[in-house]
């Protein structure tokens, strides 16, 4: 290893232990999988998603794929998440 490599390693700080990485990955994927399971998806969700899309389309010219409606469980609460990725040259005002 060259001096530069050593210096870079030093500047990056200690590497994350793999057990920490494993835990973080599990927490993310399981939150996702649990949300998609059983009663977590109420049957009005598709209709709600459809109507939200229509409203947004009235104001912004946007791809359908750029809009995501998701229900997530955060402990005791269900959080309805609406994610809209705006086109680069457009802004809502």
């Amino acid at each position: 290893m060259s001096l530069i490599d050593n210096l870079l390693d030093y500047l990056r700080g200690p590497e994350k232990k793999t057990a920490v990485v494993a835990k973080e990955r599990l927490q993310i994927i399981l939150a996702h999988e649990r949300a998609g399971r059983g009663a977590a998806t109420p049957d009005y969700l598709p209709a709600l998603q459809e109507e939200l899309l229509e409203v947004i389309a009235k104001y912004i010219h946007i791809d359908r794929e750029k809009i995501k409606v998701q229900l997530e469980k955060h402990g005791e609460y269900d959080v309805l998440e609406l994610n809209v990725t705006l086109p680069e040259h457009q802004r809502i005002l």
Partner: protein, 270 residues
């Protein structure tokens, strides 16, 4: 009231059969009339681990199909008085395991036994489903490894939504986390998920931790459930698990790396 306990995991090879054999033996050693059922139809293994493979005449499918009465298929364990084994079939496919048939057998066993331990096959298919469907309690066997933890979470979801208790609207299946093949040294080095990590992710009560140990192979070689191995850490850990299950407040052991003494370093330790 008899209790039905499923030993389950989703992922294969994590230690379900090892656990079923030792857990059922431990219950019997404490004076409980216990039966352990192999649900791994097509790939039976519990008979080998219990050391009764040469005494298998009839199996669970024979009983379901009416080829044999239940008492003829039960094999008395050679190590404990109160323990019987109901082997799986090697030849049939797992669809022969009908839910009605399993229910009939479990109801009949409930008349005689205090504990009915169900050794589930891997996966989330029919075999695993029939092993868990009638459970009152579940030992969720998990290794400190990402795919095992994820599969355990899947299994917990199925227990909560699709077990008979869930379908009938009864109290939910009581879930217990059992972490096996644990290596405290690697946990300390940051190379393995810790018990605390796993518990935090799966959010169910911890029943026990079984260390990774070479004596498990020796136990299976000789057809003796690991709980009978004198002075081994696995045997002690399984005895603790049974004690906790029966309500004794036993502190957790084998979860921190022991310091290697000079003797152990020179002569190796088991």
């Amino acid at each position: 009231m008899a209790k039905v306990i499923v030993v389950t995991s989703g992922k294969g090879g994590v230690g379900k059969t090892t656990t079923s054999a030792s857990f059922a033996s431990g219950l019997a050693l404490r004076g409980n009339k216990t039966v352990v059922i192999d649900f791994d139809v097509g790939l039976r293994n519990l008979d080998l681990i219990m050391g009764c493979e040469r005494r298998v005449v009839f199996d669970i499918i024979n009983v379901i199909n009416g080829d044999a009465i239940l008492s003829r298929a039960l094999i008395k364990d050679k190590h404990c008085d109160n323990l019987y084994v109901l082997p799986a079939s090697q030849t049939r496919d797992k669809d022969a395991l009908s839910l009605e048939g399993v229910e009939r057998i479990i109801n009949e066993l409930k008349e005689t036994f205090d504990y009915i331990v169900c050794d589930s096959p891997a996966g989330i298919e029919h075999g695993a489903f029939s092993a868990m469907y009638f459970a009152d309690e579940a030992l969720v066997v998990t290794n400190p490894e990402v795919s095992s933890v994820r599969d355990s979470d899947r299994i917990l979801g199925i227990l909560a939504a699709k077990s008979k208790r869930a379908v009938d609207g009864l109290d939910p299946v009581k879930e217990h986390l059992l972490v096996t093949r644990y290596n405290p040294g690697r946990v300390a080095a940051g190379e393995m998920l810790s018990v605390e990590d796993i518990q935090e992710i799966l959010r169910i009560p911890l029943l026990g931790v079984i260390p990774e140990s070479e004596s498990v192979l020796q136990a299976s070689n000789s057809g003796t459930p690991a709980i009978h191995l004198d002075k081994s850490d696995v045997a002690e850990a399984y005895k603790d698990v049974v004690a906790r299950f029966m309500g004794d407040g036993v502190p957790m052991r084998f979860i921190t790396a022991e310091k290697m003494g000079l003797f152990k370093r020179l002569f190796g330790g088991r």
